[in-house]
Subunit: 372 residues, 2 copies
């Protein structure tokens, strides 16, 4: 596929309204930004400049990688700028022929001290860095998956479902008995089925550790699926895009506090998914879940969900924060993942990926609470 | 162990010279900072405030996790601030009784737009954000490992050496034949030996992919250890601290360009390690390696090494950048990892972890180029 020039063009079309001459994207350790990949195909470690006319300049760490993967107008090695982002900025503005006085859009995650140094390195330009910039525009573009991206999501969801089925069978048969067994089963299975990696460190937390939202370490040699509640949270990456699901395995005592927690999570999950559709404010869904839990004096210590895509967590936001004004739209792929945690009883979480369609929603993955 | 109050005290002792009343550390998605763990024991997702008197306030996402792992004076749930860092900042300054007009030190990675919002949320305080702040002080403290941390490094190095021996045997015996075989062998072995995780995604790149500095995906179902050069770059995490080693496996044709690259990398590695010691400028070591490669018209497309610790990449810097003014000191644990890459011949890299001692250096891990 070569959707890259068209994506760059769509981005560049937003520049005029803001008077921007060029936008820079940075993908580097500590500030990963898959928008570089989204707009260029280059998967890692680079600066990408997109000018108002749609012209593109990639400054990759690894020129061999760029030669085989990037689709851009021009490439200059980062080493040519002594690996200094400030020298690279000055070089790129010259290379692209950006007039002095022009507005240059920086990523909104640019650290305050780096902002100052860009200004010092290129004093004749006007650097923008804030909400509503190109990084946010890119996040909004990435939130709405196109036909090809949705096809990728159908495929990765199918593989994820199959892996979940195999894990359920393996745990029930007693073939997967530790957290590591489950997590490493996933690592091998995904590669045998054409996926690239897990989308994040698989969380396999047996009953002794499931009280944590994100168990640390993410999996150990401890038992999984024994008496109590075990959480398995994982995602598979296919062509760069990650799925994200959570299963909970429950053995023996489904009663008392555990039973109440499980019923509440199932109820919250079902109501939340049923609310999904175009035009719905994602915050309203999260507030409904909050109310379901609050009625029984429970609080969920994390957001209800999030968009997925080239990152495990991306736009749209799906939470109850006051500043969340996202409205669901066709093409959004989001997670719904209510969970409750108790130091004694352990944790329960149920998570699937949901595609927002023109008329409502489609649940892409089919995780569930498994009773052993 | 409870080194945390002592570490906080040492940090707070640096405040007076800069007129700082309180420093904030943030560990969150997109801005991971293990300094929160270094100063509190809390391993993930929190704001940590350390005041000039050494008082500490932790604002964790997961209060259950904090209750079991954090060693701080006081804890307040992030949810109590509606999960807003700006409200949490205002709350923390009040809770700690910081006088208005006081200097508040922010992490130097704080994005420019967030800096502006902190100022707006707490207009009566003076926010600092730049080089030479507490985040940098913390990085400098973390660079010099104490006795207990060095003991951890001896242990994780021993385990890493053992795993490398097993992998060499497994590849030679034909038991580990794909990139995934090698990478998953590591994942299981480390957990069986008491380690927590890999320090970063294991890179297992067979001959068809070793030309990349960091192969993407990091490992696949492709053959490993077949004709040509295969790179294995991995680290094991023990009690939070990561090792970092790279082996290269060479099969058959050690001649021509491949032979020249291997000999150069070995020569660069040996000279670089021999230069290590207290008082040595790390940049001088990197410049020497650059010269060795340049003499034969090769360029290394990445830095020579880096410190390791709670992060896979931390201080001191070990590279040839003009702004690298690090001087090696006893207690530094660094990697030395020269590598050369060619689209046709493939890549070769050799990496070990080196402890700087009072009198020189000690090579902690024992990776090597393996001839199959």
């Amino acid at each position: 596929m070569n959707a890259y020039p068209e994506r760059r063009k769509r981005l560049a079309d937003t520049f005029a309204a803001r008077g921007v001459a060029v936008a820079m994207f940075e993908d580097t350790e500590g500030r990963r930004d898959p928008s570089v990949r989204y707009f260029s195909g280059h998967p890692s470690d680079a600066l990408l400049f997109i000018a108002a006319g749609g012209q593109s300049l990639l400054i990759p760490w690894d020129v061999n990688m760029a030669a085989s993967m990037a689709h851009v107008d021009r490439t200059v090695a980062y080493a040519d700028f002594v690996r200094s982002p400030f020298k690279a900025m000055a070089g790129a503005l010259a290379e692209l022929g950006i007039s002095t006085g022009a507005k240059v859009d920086l990523p909104s995650v640019t650290p305050y001290p780096m902002y100052i140094k860009y200004v010092e390195a290129c004093p004749d330009y006007d650097f923008l860095c804030g909400d509503g910039g190109s990084q946010e525009t890119a996040a909004g573009m990435r939130a709405v998956k196109d036909t090809e991206e949705i096809a990728i999501y159908r495929k990765v969801s199918q593989i994820t479902d199959h892996v979940m089925d195999c894990i359920e069978t393996g745990v029930k048969k007693g073939e997967l008995v530790t957290e590591a067994d489950v997590a490493l089963y996933i690592e091998r299975a995904l590669r045998e089925r054409g996926c690239d990696a897990t989308g994040f460190a698989t969380i396999a937390a047996g009953p002794s550790r499931s009280f944590g939202i994100h168990a640390i370490p993410s999996y150990t040699a401890a038992p999984f699926g024994t008496t109590g509640m075990s959480i398995l949270d994982f995602g598979l990456v296919y062509k760069g895009y990650t799925s994200d699901v959570t299963m909970t395995f429950v053995r023996d005592t489904v009663s008392g506090k555990r039973e109440e927690m499980i019923r509440l999570v199932e109820k919250a999950y079902e109501e939340a998914v049923a609310m999904c559709g175009p035009g719905v404010k994602s915050r309203d869904i999260a507030l409904r879940v909050e109310a379901i839990f609050a009625e029984k004096s429970f609080t969920m210590p994390h957001g209800l969900g999030h968009g997925v895509g080239l990152e495990a967590h991306e736009m749209p936001a799906i939470n109850n924060r006051e500043d969340n004004d996202w409205v669901l739209a066709p093409g959004h792929v989001i997670t719904i993942e209510p969970g409750l945690y108790d130091p004694e009883a352990g944790g329960v979480r149920l998570e699937n990926d949901v595609l927002i369609t023109e008329t409502g929603f489609e649940v892409l993955t089919h995780s569930r609470i498994v009773y052993l």
